[in-house]
């Protein structure tokens, strides 16, 4: 009896041990050991292929993926692709646990910035699918930038994640305030003047409508970075091994943001920020007149606030100075797992979905996203369905990739925005905030 129990225990421990060691298996193809697909997919047409595609849960995106899968299956008989979706937080955690265990899907939706972080666990794209040079010619610089790591391509973008420059404007409030509509802003001071006129407070002095709300993590951070570039500075050092946030241009830009709050009074940063009255919701609740937010918030706002009766539209802001140079993340795109048994077919699907102009157009129309391909962005169909994209065409070519930060989310959401918010709320001086940003952001390289 005792012997049997011990034997049983040993078997259990062996099984557990083997399960734990599953993550140590060598992937078929890695950054250090790239192994391009052996056989062209077409040669394997007779062999049934079953692939899984993982994406984050977003109804508009998922509709776009379903359409792409159906179209791919129609032209590739014998290939079956199953779409599996996860809500955003669960998706991150699922990737973190599945990838070390080698259990992830064949095709993985990735945000451009994540691609660099997961590069060691992703398959590099074979040159036969697309070279870096071909990709750089096909896509805007900002969206493709995040998918190129150490000179190799790890996936293809499906959208241009532009957080800079776009604002939702409430036409009804403009007309009530007697302001010219559509707005004809030539400088950022014109925007502040409109914002000041549109701001409302109750009898206790509490701001009820923010005239110009730029105080959420993405708009505040990306407008700050764009402002630094437009004023002639840079937040990277010469060889891109460190940050330079404590510069005269950065000080000028942050001071401008603080003045917008303290001198112009277009925003109460205590009542309107990332956690209270977030701009994407507050605009569609009638509490923000000019709301600085990416175009992705439009579909979400329409969906979440179908009864919002005010008339509104989407516009782009003038630059701080000169050309509207800005930085952007690479948006959502597709990558392939090195553990996939059918990498060739998986890459074929990625190319089919993200590089074919017609398919990319269809995906952008369905998902409501800005195209990553200039040819698609200039399409009349895009202009007809998403007129704000047509307005964005003038600035998109000025977009640069944010840069390969050691930890982009940490720098943007945990360092840059919190200190900008502190400066706006008067908790830190402009000088202290910039010094703290510089110190903490540079510490991420260690």
């Amino acid at each position: 009896m005792k012997g049997n129990l011990v034997q049983g225990l040993l078997v259990v421990l062996l099984v557990l041990g083997l399960a734990a060691c599953r993550g140590t298996q060598e992937p078929a193809s890695t950054a250090e050991n790239p192994q391009p697909a052996e056989t062209p997919a077409t040669a394997k047409a007779a062999e049934p292929v079953s692939l899984r595609l993982w994406t984050h849960q977003n109804n508009a995106f998922n509709a776009g993926y379903e359409a792409l899968i159906q179209a791919f299956k129609a032209t590739h008989p014998g290939v079956d692709i199953t779409l599996e979706t996860f809500d955003y937080d669960t998706y991150i955690q699922t990737l973190q646990t599945a990838m070390p265990a080698g259990e992830e899907a064949d095709i993985l939706q990735m945000f451009g910035t994540w691609t660099a972080e997961y590069a060691e666990r992703l398959a590099p794209m074979p040159d036969s699918v697309m070279t870096v040079e071909q990709a750089q010619q096909l896509y805007y610089a900002a969206p493709i930038g995040g998918y190129i790591i150490n000179g190799r391509l790890y996936g293809l973008p499906q959208e241009f994640n532009c957080e800079y420059g776009g604002v939702l404007v409430n036409k009804t409030m403009y007309e009530k305030a007697g302001l010219t509509y559509p707005p004809a802003w030539k400088t950022m001071d014109d925007v502040l003047a409109d914002g000041k006129a549109l701001t409302q407070r109750d009898e206790a002095g509490v701001m009820t409508v923010a005239g110009f709300d730029f105080n959420a993590s993405d708009p505040a951070s990306f407008s700050f970075l764009a402002g630094v570039l437009q004023l002639g500075g840079d937040y990277w050092n010469a060889d891109r091994t460190g940050f330079t946030f404590n510069t005269p241009q950065a000080k000028q830009m942050l001071q401008w943001m603080v003045d917008a709050v303290s001198k112009w009074g277009v925003l109460d940063p205590v009542l309107f920020n990332d956690t209270t009255n977030w701009v994407g919701s507050a605009f569609f609740e009638g509490r923000v007149a000019i709301g600085y937010i990416g175009t992705w918030a439009i579909a979400e706002g329409k969906n979440n606030y179908p009864d919002f009766a005010d008339e509104w539209d989407y516009f782009f802001l003038p630059s701080m100075r000169g050309d509207p140079v800005f930085v952007a993340d690479s948006g959502w795109g597709l990558t392939v797992s090195p553990n996939s048994k059918h990498q060739d077919v998986a890459w074929e699907f990625v190319k089919f979905a993200a590089a074919d102009v017609d398919n990319a157009l269809q995906f952008n129309l369905t998902s409501g996203t800005i195209p990553a391909i200039p040819e698609v962005a200039a399409s009349p169909k895009i202009a007809e369905t998403m007129p704000w994209v047509a307005k964005a065409l003038q600035i998109l070519p000025y977009g640069r990739y944010l840069g390969a930060m050691p930890d982009r989310d940490l720098v943007i959401y945990d360092i840059l925005y919190p200190h900008i918010l502190n400066a706006l709320q008067g908790v830190e001086t402009v000088d202290d905030a910039l010094q703290a940003i510089d110190d903490e952001a540079n510490a991420t390289f260690e």
């Binding site: 259990v12 557990l16 140590t24 992937p27 990838m99 205590v270 009542l271 919190p418 903490e440």
Partner: protein, 324 residues
Amino acid sequence: MSTLTVGRAKKRGGLWVSQRRFILSVTIPMILYSGVGLFTIGWALVLAFFDYSPGRAGGPILGLGGSNPFVGLKHFANMIDGVSREATQFRISLRNTLIFALAVLPLNLAITLPLAALIESVDRRLKTAFRAIYFLPVITSSVGVAMMWGYLYDPQRGLFNAVIRLFGGTPVAWLSDPRAQFLGVSVAMWAVIGAYLWQDFGYNLVIFIAALQGIPQEFKDAALIDGANPRQVFRKITIPLLRPTLLFVCVMTMLSSFQVFDIIQVMTNGNPNNQTRVLVLDIYDNAFRYQRMGWAAAVSLVLVVIVMLVTIVQMRLLRTEWEY
């Protein structure tokens, strides 16, 4: 009966077959459960000494080494005097967690103990109704509670500011003003503590009611006969006899306070200016937002040690060597 006979007929090694089956059916799940528990604790312990990220492939053994290098005690040294964002946030989180736990425990006891005595003194049917009403928030989802209190605290449309306005006062940005303080602690922290207490106090209340019912009436009667008034009976008889229950309540309340997460994540997500950032939120952010699993594991280890120390101190202070 026949099954028993068959089982008995197969007696081997001093045990009946049915007994062996029972032992196996209990032992194997116990080994599996404790194995999983020990593995995860052991894994966290190991990770605390590595700069581990699940995004990096690392070395050949469980991804440790290589691009997930061994760093020894570096994480712990950084926690003490590091200048990085994660180090400063750890120290802020630790301070906030201590403030939270040290405020919640006395406030919880100040509410639950007198209330339990009051409820214990009313009619039996009313007692049941009160107990049910006060226990309801305990079984309510923390996310729901957090959202409801978030609405109450809303600076523009919330109930609390509506009442303040009614009396001509200045509305307060309860959850978002980094400059608002009360007794040296941010108003946002007090606001979160209020919501947490509302949800949590029913649990201790029910335990105190049960403990009060277990105190023999003879002790109180004897004290009354000796001339004690009801307040003296409560202070001199009831409270001392509640010490074992007090110990349990204090330990459990401290444990749950140190592990507070969901209500804070939903209400403030650590804001404003990290004033409500607590250790478990810090662990979550580092592990799942920033993929710094090694650092998160090190912080978890520190949290475990702190909780153990606090529990030992409480047990030393409140232990009793008698029963009734």
